[in-house]
Symmetry: C2
Subunit: 250 residues, 2 copies
Amino acid sequence: MNLAADFKEIDTKLYRYMLKELTQKDNKCHDCKDISCAAAVLNSNQLDLVSSNSQESLFKKGEVILNEGSLTSHIIYLKAGIAKEYIKGTGEKERILRLVKKHSYLGLPSLFGDRINHYSYSALEDCKVCYIDINVFNGLVRENGNFAYEILVSTSRDSLSNINRFIHRSQKKIFGRVAEAILYFAKIIYESDEFELPFSRQEFADLIDVSRESATRVLLKFNSEGIIQIKDRSLLVVNMDLLEQISRKG
Amino acid sequence: MNLAADFKEIDTKLYRYMLKELTQKDNKCHDCKDISCAAAVLNSNQLDLVSSNSQESLFKKGEVILNEGSLTSHIIYLKAGIAKEYIKGTGEKERILRLVKKHSYLGLPSLFGDRINHYSYSALEDCKVCYIDINVFNGLVRENGNFAYEILVSTSRDSLSNINRFIHRSQKKIFGRVAEAILYFAKIIYESDEFELPFSRQEFADLIDVSRESATRVLLKFNSEGIIQIKDRSLLVVNMDLLEQISRKG
DNA sequence: TCCATGATGTGATTTAGATCACAAATATAT
DNA sequence: ATATATTTGTGATCTAAATCACATCATGGA
């Protein structure tokens, strides 16, 4: 073997590796598998700008990602994991507004509303997020109407579905609410009729605004009637149709 | 007097008048006293485009402006008057989401969400509205990022305040809710501690999601305790501080 | 004018679901 | 392991507010 040739080969590999690393760093958003619908309409220069003004970060299950009342300096994009959006009420009780799945921005209405975060977010699973400088983000909205349009579509959909949930909830009795929550997990969050609840019964109750005791009772009633099978935090929907009927009829 | 000269003068006046009329028609948005914050950032060409693709219309008190379930072909801007935003529940009961004051667009989230109107609107006072073609409107969003930004700000604020109301309402007992509604009229809608309720007790109750009877009882209790003075539909807030306390404490 | 229809006020009754008060099971720390 | 805290399940009260059932009081049309 030729030592010089060996070195050359190693050198080449190293060079390629470093080049790839550097390229990835500079183009991290270009190659991102988890890019948002909105960012997908940005041009190459605009993506470069985002790349050099964003930062990835990880959160362990249970950690707080963002606290209500704080000032918005960066917009947060959820690349992976599930987070809960909530507000801390008076005392111990918290109100869970919704769960946020990956590929969503956190707290957009707060950014455009008054720059103060109105909701808190914490990780229900390990989460990967991207911080993007808000001036860069706002600049892109003003510079690229198509980007702005996508952001509008996403905030509008969120707004409609939030209000929809609130309105229908206030008309529903407790059975309807529990059914609604189960369907929310099965159809929207996990898209499967079998899943693990990502939190305690107390939090389940906080999500539908009933007491912990009542939520438990109804969950066990559904279980004994064979509509669902629940054991600790693992849940299987047995009779989806009936559950939907209960949710609709309230 | 010289008849010819007279005619000439009349002619000139007529000419000027017609010119003004025509000019106003072509530049109706340019001269509009009720232009939206968003439209204020449009350039002259873009305003021309809006001018020639919009149409003013009047609604009498009580008339339905827009019906939920309909497809959006035009965006509606409220130039004058007050409208109620509501959804028709099952049966007779309707849920009033909020009142909309002049200088607001109606149903923006529906436009960007899925193009189907989610809420109904009816006039609580005589209303003047402007219809704008949605393709023109969407075109402006995509073409002018600053316009899009203003629309985002306005939809975001609406979203935050709606959700805020829903969240706090669900924590409040009936006294807090009635107090909240009175403050809503005094501080936000009429900006005066004396005003006429624009609708019946039933609708007042629909706004805060309590029964008509309960709403009446609390209103009369506040009256007898000297917190407010209410006679038919005219209402005077006597003790604003106390009302705010009641609203906050729930 | 009178009748019909709807909007209001008010007491009596009912009820859904919160709250309380534990027991059992599970997880966490020492 | 043992002790301590947290999460869950379950029955027994309690209560706020809906519902029911009328009595007035307006309003508007024939």
